[in-house]
């Protein structure tokens, strides 16, 4: 199964999955919040392109609605909201000193290998494109988790969470040619509600510990250690 023998849709999906994986890595190594949010928006844009591609080539018009929703939410609304909050809380000048950045990146790379390893059995039952695209989306999910572990700012945690959702969404488009409309609408509104709730959480964390750095939460201990 060479790439030359695949149709154009498969090639495009493979290219998209490679780029989505790249944006996940970029987010993992990013110390500045505004740039992190920008890369997140680019990932959303890639998802939108993938969805519209699937809608076009599979002749599945309801996927266009989902593409529009993705674009409105993940490329415009959520990044805009996060950016506004970062600017309002004056976090955009902080460069988060990532502890052992190299180890995190290497860990990310091994997570990618791990997802290929886990999905290897699938190859017997499905096509090659499925294996690759699923492996990339699984690693996007795992890299999102990794992003939440390795960064200390709460805003970065939210971006990590949202990128986990991106990974699942990508898998859904590629593997099942889009979920039913109801599910997609539900997920989209879940994400929207989550984004707004996170905004409220930011305010609360900030008023209680004067910072969005989650390491500072230790201040909430009753007894001094």
């Amino acid at each position: 199964m060479n790439i030359e023998s695949q149709d154009f849709y498969t090639q495009a999906i493979l290219s998209m999955s490679a780029l989505v994986g790249l944006t996940s890595f970029l987010m993992l190594g990013q110390g500045r919040l505004l740039r992190l949010i920008f890369v997140f928006a680019i990932q959303g844009l890639l998802l939108t392109l993938t969805t519209s591609l699937a809608a076009f080539s599979l002749d599945n018009p309801h996927l266009y609605i989902s593409a529009v929703l993705t674009f409105a939410l993940k490329v415009i609304f959520i990044p805009w909201m996060l950016q506004k909050q970062v600017l309002a809380m004056n976090l955009h000048r902080d460069v988060e000193a990532l502890k052992n950045n190299t180890a995190v990146m290497l860990g990310g790379a091994s997570l990618m290998v791990f997802s290929y390893y886990v999905l290897q059995p699938i190859i017997h039952t499905s096509s090659m494109i499925m294996l690759n695209a699923l492996a990339v989306s699984l690693s996007v999910v795992l890299l999102g988790l990794m992003l939440m572990i390795s960064h200390r700012q709460a805003v970065a945690h939210v971006v990590g969470f949202m990128s986990i959702e991106n990974g699942l969404f990508f898998a859904a488009i590629v593997a099942t040619n889009g979920m039913p409309m109801v599910v997609e609408l539900g997920v989209a509104f879940d994400v929207l509600v989550a984004a707004i709730l996170f905004g409220i959480f930011f305010l609360h964390i900030r008023t209680s510990i004067d910072s969005l750095d989650v390491d500072m939460m230790n201040k909430l201990h009753e007894v001094d250690k």
Binding site: N2, I3, L14
Partner: protein, 314 residues
């Protein structure tokens, strides 16, 4: 007959290089709301410099005088290897892509030696910086080019380009990565803005300019010409590897003319994109350059990996 066309192509390449540099300057000036110098200004500068008498320090050795000729020759030879308006020429059959990278390294080696030779502080500083950057940029370039050669299973540049041409439009993830990696390397290697500023007057921030600070007259003209050639080489390499459509496959007059037209269009497009990028981006601190090139290397590596993982037979 083929040899005549190859020589003509190389001559055309060399003759057009200053024009491209002039066009690049024109784009940048227009974007920055300045009045641009004439497109032929680089030719006039080169002519003026060749007429002037070179001033050579009394501490300079023979190497200092020989280096410009060596560098210029290496660049002209490199220009003869790269398919410009036609593939399958005898010159490009003689040498493959590793030789091309070797020509670049050869020229850079002599340029760095010439910078050290005169014994001034800035020359040595420029040489050390140039070598640091190129030690990071060269593996990336090789990695990006190897992605192409692995796909085409030949290291011959015109063979690889023909392979890409013949199999039609195939979207390869590895090529997307390799293209970005090669673009970043090209910016670093030709000394354009985020890495080095070719128009700087501040000795402390110079890289390329610091090495050639002591050159004057025809020596300076040759080195300037060589760096214009290098700029065009990277441009042609990027546009012909990744977007080879339109390059002449036979040596009929109409095919060659069409090829020239298409490559001019591609180079103009590339120049405009580069001018936009240079206007939007500020120059990096020197110690950030290794991050930038590390990212380029990551892209090159990802290109290679996605060629192996995503595209290969299983």
């Amino acid at each position: 007959m083929n040899w005549i066309i190859a020589i003509l192509q190389t001559t055309l390449f060399v003759a057009l290089a200053p024009f491209l540099a002039g066009f690049m300057k024109f784009c940048k000036c227009r974007l920055q709301n300045r009045r641009a110098p004439s497109l032929f200004q680089p030719y006039r500068d080169l002519l003026k410099l060749t007429r002037k008498q070179p001033v050579i320090s009394e501490d300079a050795s023979w190497l200092f005088c020989a280096a410009p000729y060596i560098i210029f020759t290496a660049m002209v030879l490199a220009a003869s290897v790269v398919p410009f308006i036609a593939v399958d020429l005898p010159t490009s059959a003689e040498a493959d892509v590793i030789v091309l990278v070797g020509f670049f390294a050869f020229a850079r080696f002599f340029l760095a030696l010439a910078g050290l030779d005169i014994g001034t502080a800035f020359g040595g500083m420029g040489s050390s910086r140039e070598m640091t950057i190129s030690s990071l940029a060269e593996p990336t370039m090789l990695m990006a080019v190897f992605t192409l050669t692995m796909t085409a299973s030949t290291t011959n540049l015109s063979g690889a380009i023909e392979h890409v041409l013949n199999e039609g439009l195939i979207l390869r993830p590895s090529f997307v990565f390799a293209l970005f990696a090669l673009l970043l390397v090209a910016v670093a290697e030709t000394g354009r803005i985020p890495v080095d500023n070719p128009t700087t007057h501040l000795e402390l921030t110079m890289i390329h300019e610091a090495m050639i600070l002591e050159y004057s007259g025809r020596h300076l003209a040759l080195i300037e010409f060589a760096s214009q050639l290098k700029f065009m080489l990277y441009g042609v390499l990027i546009s012909n590897i990744f977007f080879p459509w339109g390059i002449a496959e036979d040596f009929g007059l109409s095919a060659l003319g069409y090829g020239l037209l298409v490559i001019t269009g591609k180079l103009i497009f590339l120049c405009v994109v580069l001018a936009f990028a240079e206007t939007a981006v500020a120059k990096m601190r020197l110690f950030r350059v290794q991050e930038y090139l590390g990212f380029a290397y990551l892209l090159g590596l990802l290109g290679m990996l996605s060629h192996i993982i995503l595209e290969s037979t299983r």
